[in-house]
Symmetry: C2
Subunit: 412 residues, 2 copies
């Protein structure tokens, strides 16, 4: 009777939290001029085999469908976006600023902050190579986290540039086939004992550790930090060459968002992938692009760990689930009249519930409270009037039933 | 570069339509006091094998995962709901009124009104056996369709009771193993040449055709029609014994919603499944239940075929995607100041876009219009003032930059 390991049932309280997260994500992305799109949950396996890198391919939910197609549940959104862009980009003005809230799937060992499915906000800018686009995207990533009540002492964006590392690999003469493996080793070095990283890197260990220790600087990263300063967001960002990102397709600026206390996994991550669209279309379409994703699982853990963020969530989630009015049917012979009025109330936009079977009046008031109603309307001896009772104040007023809608609108 | 056959890419216009449909679904369900839940997209294969009936099982997207579990993409939501109820019902007051908007998957031949995936609104009432619950659910199904601008001459709910047929099967001494097959034949008889149905039914053809022709009546269905009349909804409903429903688990009142002109597939369908929860829990939990589902594909076709519904959709969809303000950077030396103000505008809740790279002013105004901005703000020679231009009226006003937010709020 339980869901599959790593999958979630969303009971009403959890579903309301999810709706709260999605609504904030949508609102912030739209403030930045992003428009929503979506793609299929199932794609051809090849879409991921070629571009996403070994780690993702090992964790794919893949199978052969009844039509003998090799398919996979999407493990991430960027390949789908790139495919959609290749097929449709001619119909859109550049740059595109698009967002999506896909559910994605990876067969991993479930652990804190990581399940086998989660929902992501994906935001991408396509068709713009200027560094201003990188700054705009990073500012959005910051504001997406700020929207939940987190402040500069709660989280930070660590910004880097893959070119630091690809330049080094070129200088050191590392063959391009080995790049992905080396980049993944550098990416993981922070979470791994130094001797282990040294062993994996071999002859490259010296220069890699030197860069990691002395840090890096570049005109590009300075420009981004300057731009964030103009926005008043520089307290949320720092340059950190240790950020490399696990995915294979990144080409330029990359970044990850972390909680300052280091208690959680990365909250968000992204960067430039200027070659992906060209690769996917066999060079028939070439568009620079960049994007980031942030997931609901780590975010949820962080919200529940932060007093301010949790208070904001709780006040919003309650009002989302509560009804407005409970119709108390005190006399069963008033049921038909009650149903007629309930329909009018609902047509006017009120959320209304009532007993579907005869019940004692105190039990009905109990239900009204549990459902979060602000008002109870009693259908009983007072008919053709009804008693309108405020469940907060306990105050009660007799209203002729044909004046009920007007009365409620005036006292809203 | 295309999605898999039977799957959809949701480009921004299509995604805005989907959001419009989901928002209406949520609003109406909440007006009826339903609260949202969700379940996993992937479930154990057994959950469907046992309960959903042969047709669904033949069309499952099923596979074995990397942990050797037989799993399936959900083809419908009711088995997941029943599983969640069995595991969690003790924490909730009865009756439960729950809704969900799952994406569901069936491997079928794609055709008009039917793809291999679609989104459904599912609404269920659990823990209530009174006929009032059936009426409440059918009223909700009607209001869900009405919400899109459809009227009583556009669609109708056809209501029946499986007990008409199961009583007949008992009287005729048909063995229970054959019931599902016979019920499916009756369900399909409307869309099939009569001789073919006669052949399938054999000795049952006589009594079945007799009921189909003379229609049926029962105290239960009369009560439902009376209840709908009290709500002012009886014009939207009719009794029709020909409705049987394809799924195996229905036990009582069943209904389907159709367009009156007969141009489309069923818009919605549902009914009572009082035994499913007991069956699934091996009788450890027994709760009466009923529900319906309506999908986005047929609904979308109907909206685009109806002038009133389409007008309502289009007015809502536009405002969903448009930005509020476009910042025109007429002088590049004002970019930093512009970015600072853009951040303040976004923080105040405005949707703002601007050129990520230097561009000629006329091109920027073109972008502003294409993005649906109502206002352009010019950063140029007038600095430290900005020119605030209404894109509708063409009217323009100089505003000191530090007064911009107040000015916009006053003129909102």
């Amino acid at each position: 009777m339980q869901p599959l390991t790593g999958f979630r049932d969303f009971l009403p309280a959890a579903c309301a939290e999810r709706n709260y997260i999605f609504a904030k994500w949508r609102a912030v992305a739209r403030r930045y001029g992003f428009v929503e799109y979506d793609g299929p949950l199932l794609e051809e396996l090849d879409l991921y085999k070629k571009k996403s890198g070994d780690e993702i391919v090992r964790q794919l939910y893949e199978f052969v469908d009844k039509g003998e197609r090799a398919v996979a549940l999407r493990p991430e959104m960027t390949p789908t976006l790139a495919r959609i862009i290749v097929a449709n980009h001619r119909n859109f003005r550049k740059p595109l600023k698009w967002f999506s809230i896909p559910q994605v799937f990876r067969y991993e060992r479930p652990q804190r902050g990581r399940l086998r499915e989660h929902f992501q906000l994906n935001c991408d800018i396509v068709g713009e190579s200027s560094i201003e686009a990188d700054a705009e995207l990073i500012a959005l990533a910051i504001d997406v986290v700020r929207a939940f009540g987190f402040r500069a002492n709660d989280f930070v964006v660590r910004i880097s540039d893959r070119e630091f590392w690809t330049e080094l690999l070129k200088v050191e003469g590392v063959s391009p086939e080995r790049w992905e493996e080396v980049l993944q080793t550098i990416d993981k070095s922070e979470r791994e004992p130094r001797p282990k990283t040294r062993e994996r890197l071999g002859g490259l260990a010296g220069p890699v550790f030197e860069i990691l220790e002395k840090g890096g600087e570049s005109a590009k990263l300075n420009a981004i930090m300057g731009n964030l300063r103009a926005r008043g967001l520089s307290d949320f960002a720092t340059v950190d060459v240790g950020i490399v990102r696990g995915l294979a397709y990144y080409t330029g600026v990359v970044f990850e968002v972390f909680d300052r206390a280091g208690k959680f996994r990365a909250i968000a991550g992204g960067g430039r992938y200027d070659q992906l669209i060209a690769q996917l279309s066999n060079d028939s379409v070439s568009l620079p692009a960049l994007g980031f994703a942030t997931g609901d699982v780590v975010l949820g853990e962080m919200i529940h760990d932060n007093v301010v963020a949790l208070r904001e969530l709780e006040s919003s989630v309650g009002s989302d689930r509560n009804i407005d009015i409970y119709a108390v049917i005190a006399k069963e012979e008033r049921r038909t009249s009650a149903i007629c009025l309930i329909q009018q109330l609902r047509d006017s936009g009120y959320r209304v519930d009532y007993p579907l079977a005869p019940a004692k009046v105190p039990r009905q008031f109990q239900a009204a409270e549990q459902l979060g109603a602000r008002t109870a309307i009693l259908f009983g001896d007072e008919w053709p009037s009804v008693a309108v009772k405020s469940l907060a104040s306990g105050g009660q007023q007799l209203v002729p039933h044909e004046e009920l809608i007007t009365h409620l609108a005036a006292n809203r």
